[in-house]
């Protein structure tokens, strides 16, 4: 990959047990301390600390002109942040839920992603947009969308999607240091689902790099966000049948780490993609195309996709039926193995 951020080495560094939401908070705190161009904006992020507490304590510490409660106006937030970004600041915007980013879609599609191109790099938009996304937390309608592809089909921005506290902090800091706009998708299901050791200092996780979270020989499972856990559970069950799964946590959705995908699939010769977005038009298709382009002759079975259905994300009493489950993933694994 070509991004200039390198994964740091922290072998001897102090760490702390953090949840993903704490790690995100910590990442913003560090950058607010280090770089006074950093400015955080969003709805209810100040006194309230954000509806998920991602910005808890930051306004108290850095003041309400650096951690700014904005009016309820996503296009306004992104639009003014563009002005801030082209004029020397580094805005980090919280969109309360990914499903509420749509009013700002024009600003992102026609400006955030295109100002560099349009001005031949004279103006740039070093902006981070953070958005909680995904289903499974019994939230009201529209709060559970995972429409990542609306942003991966948009040259000019990058999209990352951490699944762990460590990656969340490292990718967020990388995004905040990136010279270009980065959308950070945060899976709500993982906000508090586990703690892990996270360095207390500054470090980055390179944008554009996936990670093998489980090594295996027979099938490659490709997932991101909350689906990594689903893949892990399915892999456990498959192991009991003697099927060895390798799992890739994609981590960056644009630009995709093609090398990690092709290397793994060429080794295992089979792939199952898991995502919670709708099947049609989902990012799974991009991954199938990458496999088609790079590993056609290696494949022993058609690539399987286990995804959300082609229906609006249901109201929460039925959302479990929308989301991929370990059982459905297992079926996909069996299908490619027994093809």
């Amino acid at each position: 990959m070509t991004t200039h951020l390198k994964e740091s080495n922290h072998k001897n560094e102090m760490t702390e047990q953090m949840t993903m939401i704490q790690a995100i908070n910590d990442g913003m705190r560090i950058m607010l301390e280090e770089d006074d161009r950093t400015i955080i904006l969003g709805e209810d992020i100040g006194k309230n600390g954000g509806v998920f507490r991602a910005t808890e304590g930051l306004q108290e510490k850095f003041g309400d002109d650096r951690v700014v409660d904005t009016p309820l106006s996503e296009a306004g937030i992104i639009g003014t942040s563009i002005g801030l970004a082209v004029n020397g600041f580094r805005p980090v915007v919280e969109i309360q839920f990914l499903g509420f980013i749509y009013p700002a879609y024009e600003q992102i599609m026609t400006h955030v992603s295109r100002i560099r191109t349009r001005s031949m790099s004279h103006f740039t938009v070093p902006m981070v947009i953070r958005a909680p996304y995904g289903a499974g937390i019994r939230a009201p309608e529209i709060h559970s969308d995972s429409t990542e592809i609306l942003f991966t089909h948009m040259p000019g921005i990058k999209v990352v999607c951490p699944s762990s506290p460590y990656d969340a902090k490292g990718l967020l800091i990388a995004a905040m240091e990136d010279p270009d706009p980065v959308l950070v998708l945060e899976t709500m299901r993982n906000y508090r689902s586990k703690r892990e050791d996270v360095p207390v200092g500054k470090y980055t996780v390179e944008i554009g790099k996936g990670k093998i979270v489980r090594e295996g020989a027979d099938v490659t499972l490709i997932a991101w966000g909350a689906m990594v856990t689903i893949a892990e559970k399915a892999a456990e069950q498959a192991a009991q049948q003697g099927i060895s799964c390798e799992i890739i946590d994609l981590r960056t959705l644009y630009p995709i780490d093609r090398d990690i995908l092709s290397q793994s699939v060429q080794k295992t010769t089979r792939a199952v993609i898991i995502h919670e977005a709708h099947n049609t038009g989902g990012l799974g298709n991009d991954i199938i195309s990458i496999i088609n382009d790079t590993s056609f002759l290696y494949l022993r079975a058609p690539v399987e996709r286990v995804t959300g259905f082609d229906v609006p994300v249901p109201f929460f009493s039925l959302e479990e039926h929308y989301l991929p489950t370990p059982a459905r993933v297992l079926e996909g694994i069996e299908k490619v193995v027994h093809f």
Binding site: K47, L72, A75, P103, A139, F309, V311, S317
Partner: protein, 353 residues
């Protein structure tokens, strides 16, 4: 601008008439209707919070403090009018004729909660803020084009005024002079954001100037002024004069939702000076001889019964049907979706055994 938009009231905080011209129009029937509906939705609201605490309901958005606004406005509608609520307006829709069982179901993540009784033009609650304003304008426009006397009302909060859709909805309504009432409940906060940070304007009512439509500011805790002013706006709309913007100044007594902790962003004292709309009505009833203990007791019993049995019915409601997530996407299911449904139902049967 505040001076140009004084808050209209009919009764004061102690329940005495300020504007006595209304004395004649307010009779026992109306007063009891107000009391009944406000008490009914208050009881519903508190019950919902309780159910949520007990894990019998999902996250819930309470409207306590806003009963006069919701009941006063909803009672002003005709039975063929359209109503476009938000998630916080179940008080209004229940008053207008929504089904209480379904209102509970809604908060249990049941899509059945969005389906109105046949013939009641109650739109599903808008979750994306302010998006319902253009819908209301469009539905009202349709009524105008059909040549009916029906109108529409859109409910929305103070925070909603910051969204582009607020502006585009009001602009369309004013350009095409459609019979719609934009009913704003200014409850002081949008989640944690106080109105002073939401907007620089002293009032919401004055935003009507941008569209040359009437804008009025009323005491949203005075059910009488809400009722009569909404009625006026409807009359104005039905007579072909177009939309009105009403700012009902009220107060959200509780949390934004049951998932929210208001102590993080507002002090306990805030809102202390605001007289609860139901207490105010009670005082009014006592002041003017409408208070009838026996009737009150009956009404309260009736309400409790209704609510208990609605909760009961909600909890005995048939379990959610997986088919529903596939069956209402299109009038006719496309082949690939039919395949997804079939595969999934087969899978479910497989894992069930």
């Amino acid at each position: 601008m505040e001076l140009d938009y004084p808050i209209k009231k009919i009764i004061d905080d102690k329940g005495f008439f300020i504007d006595s011209t209304y004395e004649k129009q307010i009779n026992e029937k109306l007063v009891k209707e107000f009391y009944f509906n406000m008490m009914r939705i208050r009881t519903f609201d508190r019950k919902a919070i309780n159910l949520q605490r007990q894990g019998r309901l999902g996250t819930y958005a309470p409207f306590e403090g806003q009963e006069a606004s919701q009941v006063g406005s909803a009672l002003a509608l005709g039975s063929n009018d359209w109503i476009f609520p938000t998630y916080r307006d179940h008080g209004a829709t229940l008053t207008y004729g929504a089904d209480m069982v379904r209102a509970f179901l809604y908060w249990n993540g049941r899509v059945e909660g969005c389906v109105p009784p046949e013939g009641k033009k109650i739109f599903p609650p808008a979750v994306p803020i302010a998006t319902q304003l253009p819908h209301a304008a469009g539905a009202a426009w349709a009524e105008k084009r059909k040549g009916t006397q029906n109108a529409a009302i859109a409910y929305f909060g103070d925070g909603a005024t910051s969204e582009g859709d607020f502006h585009e909805g009001l602009n369309f309504a004013s350009v095409f002079k459609v019979p719609v009432v934009f009913f704003n409940q200014n409850n002081g906060y949008a989640i944690s954001l106080p109105i002073e940070k939401q907007m620089n304007s002293a009032t919401i009512a004055q935003k009507s100037v941008a569209y040359d439509m009437p804008g009025i500011r009323i005491d949203g805790n005075d059910c009488f002024v809400v009722y009569f002013e909404t009625k006026k706006a409807f009359d104005y709309a039905r007579s072909g004069n177009g939309p009105t913007l009403i700012e009902a100044v009220t107060w959200r007594t509780g949390a934004h939702t049951t998932a929210d902790d208001p102590s993080k962003y507002r002090s306990n004292e805030q809102g202390m000076n605001i007289v609860d709309p139901l207490s105010r009505l009670e005082m009014f009833m006592k002041n003017y001889g409408y208070w009838d203990e026996q009737w009150i007791n009956e009404v309260n019993k009736k309400i409790t019964n209704e609510i208990e049995s609605a909760v009961d019915e909600m909890e005995r409601f048939p379990a959610p049907n997986v088919d529903d997530i596939f069956d209402h996407v299109y009038a006719e299911m496309p082949a690939h979706l039919a395949e997804q449904k079939k595969t999934y139902l087969t899978h479910l049967r497989g894992t069930a055994k």
